[in-house]
Symmetry: C2
Subunit: 119 residues, 2 copies
Amino acid sequence: MDDGEVLPAEMCSLREVLDLVGDKWAIRVLIQLGDGPRRFSELERALAGVSRRMLSLTLRGLERNSLVTRKVYPEVPPRVEYTMTPHAAELDEPLHALSAWAAKHRAKVSAARQAFDVG
Amino acid sequence: MDDGEVLPAEMCSLREVLDLVGDKWAIRVLIQLGDGPRRFSELERALAGVSRRMLSLTLRGLERNSLVTRKVYPEVPPRVEYTMTPHAAELDEPLHALSAWAAKHRAKVSAARQAFDVG
DNA sequence: CTGAATCCGCGCGGATACTG
DNA sequence: CAGTATCCGCGCGGATTCAG
């Protein structure tokens, strides 16, 4: 199997994943949560440049697809913890592989981009 | 190494990759090219729903980052072939892993989304 | 502290027409 | 066939304000 022919199913699956974590902030959130549960404000600090609105929307989206769980502690001041779900944790390895690719080809791609922009 | 602690470098690398292939059409183009060189009109047909403009822009972006190469044949009518670069081909395995994750958890995620939307 | 609601500018992307 | 150019609507996302 897998003689180089890529089935349409793969295409769909890939787009599904990217629709889940392809947003600007989703990946960063997941990486943070991969290190342990985080509070809203902790994420806000960790993800430099994120607006409160976008962080909120990103977390909603991840929660909606059951990639994170939201736990509210009835205290004052209120505390909310976000945690990775088990199957979201399984994304870790595939993501590592992608990251490794980037690390390996970063220079090449960067150089190509500069050359392209010049010419 | 890798005791669960995720380094900032990973975050950057991952976003780099997603910035390269996270667009709506880039992945589909790469998958097509993974099956062999393709002409513009072939891609246009294969990627149902893509506009000529977006396909053009997507190919430009991929070419800019040296993920595809563009070969023009001086004929009439003109013919242009797009081909995957070697390092883009190396994305195949990581992408497969992601695809596998999607296939495995598709039902779970889909159900979660429905439940979330109802509640 | 953790959001939701509103306003608004800007860029993405579709439709259409034109070119080599 | 393989694009580019232009126009334009719509949604993403920032800034700000209000709420539990």
